[in-house]
């Protein structure tokens, strides 16, 4: 890594930070967010915060625990509004999680991806919508069915 791009705690306060501000502080794909408080001071007193610089919070650290197994999907339709999942929302799907009964999952059903709540009882699987307008789907042998992944988080813009 180019040392010039990684301002360290020890860098002198008068040093200019090259190409400073990350374009998108959260969900920054290269996770090179600048440390909080690393401000540009060219003259005068050094910032009193310099000694307290810590890494700025990175939202993907919170939302993506298993980066290799995590995929983002876009919600289509309103079958899950009761679970707070709306059309256009972003699903953060973690395939490393085990699809326990009661979890919201993405499933491949008859060639399409669908998001529903999974229910397991007496060896039977049901995909439940969270909207009374949509019937439950009892999974049977006629279905081409596979659980695709577990929804870990939903990103919703109000």
């Amino acid at each position: 890594m180019n040392p010039a791009n990684t301002p360290s705690r020890k860098s002198s306060p008068s040093r200019r930070i090259p190409i400073g501000v990350p374009l998108s502080p959260a969900l920054n794909p290269d996770r090179q967010a600048l440390p909080l408080g690393a401000c540009r001071v060219t003259a005068g007193f050094p910032s009193p915060a310099t000694d307290h610089i810590e890494q700025r919070l990175d939202l993907s650290e919170y939302l993506v625990l298993h980066p290799e197994a995590t995929f983002f999907l876009r919600v289509k339709g309103d079958s899950m509004t009761g679970a707070g999942i709306h059309h256009g929302d972003l699903l953060i799907v973690d395939r490393s999680l085990s699809p326990a009964s009661g979890r919201v999952v993405v499933a491949a059903l008859n060639g399409e991806l669908t998001v529903k709540r999974l229910q397991r009882s007496r060896g039977k699987l049901t995909l439940k919508a969270e909207n009374p307008a949509y019937p439950d789907i009892a999974v049977n042998d006629e279905h081409e069915f596979q659980i695709w992944g577990v929804v870990a988080h939903v990103v919703h813009t109000p």
């Binding site: 374009l23 794909p29 290799e68 972003l90 993405v106 060639g111 695709w148």
Partner: protein, 423 residues
């Protein structure tokens, strides 16, 4: 200590990646085509069962679309590249050392591993299948050559369920199995060498294992002598840890149609330089030479043929796309001759050195920090907002020369605008 080496790969890798995001592709014949939708480069098992061979031109199998519901896709390297890096990261957790050998396969060092390797191979298989939806095969042996061959056995003998280790067979059983395998299946032998070996009476893997290594060395090369040793369980090729900096960077592509006009060649050269320069900066190198090459279609016998190349040295090494474009364009203008139908153009960056060690000259020293800032900013924009968000006009806008990717699937994992949808 005796080595234990595994070769793990993703089955039908490109097709498998497509199926993860498009479940409608399951249980039906699917092929992925090469650049320009020319030839088959990946097949589902159903497509293999139809007798579709690797590398066949698409027009030869087009009728299967109607008759057998064959689905075909253009290659989507953004998707395969991302799935590959996920798979390699997962596989790397299973061994202290890993050599990434290609987009869909890597060697893992299992030497001294206490567990039974076939159990281990099965846990790899279930992990990668769950996390990524891709099925892997694992072959294990005392050398890379044996591991490669074991992987072939794991794939072609269903009773092993995708995991095969030579060491789980007795010496006699190993030889019996080797006697059933064609010599062409050995790593590095292939179609070119196997007829020559067969003429010498070396038809099977077992024949090769018992062949006279010194004689093969004299007749062919030291490589074949090493192959024989490796088949006998002597590891001659260690794992190469993840390749460090590349010593050259190549970017080239065939056109979607024959190109004759200089301005189109210029656009294509620019667009290759842009990609190559991004890779150059990603590995923190600068380069001191730019080569431009192009060729006509050698399969068109009635077309006049012309395959020129030009090497353009730079006064000081650089990673500035603008300087590299200028060099490539001057090289191209020097070798361009009208009247030819060009099929492909490419650029190669050589004379690579660490960017921070570049010898400055007086004039560049002034310009350099600004150039670095500009390039860093462009790379950042493109990383965050997608490839070619900020680019150079020289690469053209419509790019009519670009290869056809009529059936490319979305960049499901690398573009916010193309995420898979769940209803």
């Amino acid at each position: 200590m005796k080595s234990t080496i595994a070769l793990v790969d993703g089955n039908n890798f490109y097709v498998s990646c497509e199926r993860v995001f498009n479940p409608a592709l399951h249980r039906r014949p699917v092929v992925v085509l090469s650049n320009n939708d020319g030839c088959v480069v990946s097949r589902s098992n159903e497509a293999k069962a139809l007798g579709i061979k690797m590398g066949v031109p698409f027009f030869e199998i087009r009728s299967f679309v109607k008759s057998h519901g064959l689905r075909w896709l253009s290659s989507n390297y953004a998707l395969y590249g991302d799935m590959s890096s996920r798979m390699m990261a997962l596989l790397g957790e299973f061994a202290p050392r890993q050599e990434i050998y290609s987009i869909d396969e890597c060697f893992l060092d299992f030497t001294g591993m206490p567990e039974k390797t076939s159990d281990y191979g099965r846990s790899i298989r279930s992990r990668v299948r769950q996390y990524l939806g891709i099925t892997t095969c694992t072959g294990v042996g005392a050398s890379k050559t044996l591991a490669k061959l074991a992987n072939h056995v794991a794939k072609t003998h269903p009773q092993h369920q995708g995991v095969f280790d030579w060491e789980e067979l007795s010496a006699t059983e190993q030889n019996t199995l080797m006697a059933t395998l064609d010599v062409g299946e050995i790593w590095g032998i292939g179609r070119r060498l196997s007829p020559q070996l067969q003429a010498m009476g070396i038809r099977t893997v077992l024949d090769m294992k018992h062949a006279n290594a010194t004689q093969l060395r004299k007749r062919f090369s030291v490589v074949l002598q090493r192959t024989v040793a490796e088949l006998n369980g002597e590891s001659c090729m260690g794992l190469e840890d993840i390749a460090g900096r590349k010593s050259q960077i190549l970017a080239s592509r065939s056109f979607g149609r024959p190109v004759t006009a200089l301005h189109e060649l210029r656009e294509a050269a620019c667009s290759h330089i842009i990609r190559a320069a991004e890779r150059l900066r990603a590995q923190q190198s600068s380069c001191s030479q730019v080569t431009v090459f192009m060729h006509t279609n050698k399969f068109r016998n009635d077309d006049p043929q012309y395959n020129p190349a030009a090497l353009v040295p730079l006064t000081t090494a650089t990673d500035d796309t603008r300087r590299l474009i200028a060099a490539a364009v001057s090289g191209l203008e020097g070798i361009y001759r009208p009247g030819y139908r060009y099929k492909k153009i490419g650029v190669m960056l050589t004379g690579l050195q660490p960017a921070h060690a570049v010898q400055e000259d007086f004039f560049c020293a002034l310009e350099r920090p600004r150039a670095t800032r500009l390039m860093t900013a462009m790379d950042r924009i493109n990383r965050i907002y997608g490839m070619n968000t900020a680019t150079f006009a020289g690469a053209g806008v419509n790019q009519p020369w670009r290869m056809q990717t009529a059936q490319k699937s979305p960049s499901y994992t690398t573009s916010w605008n193309e995420l898979p949808r769940a209803g």
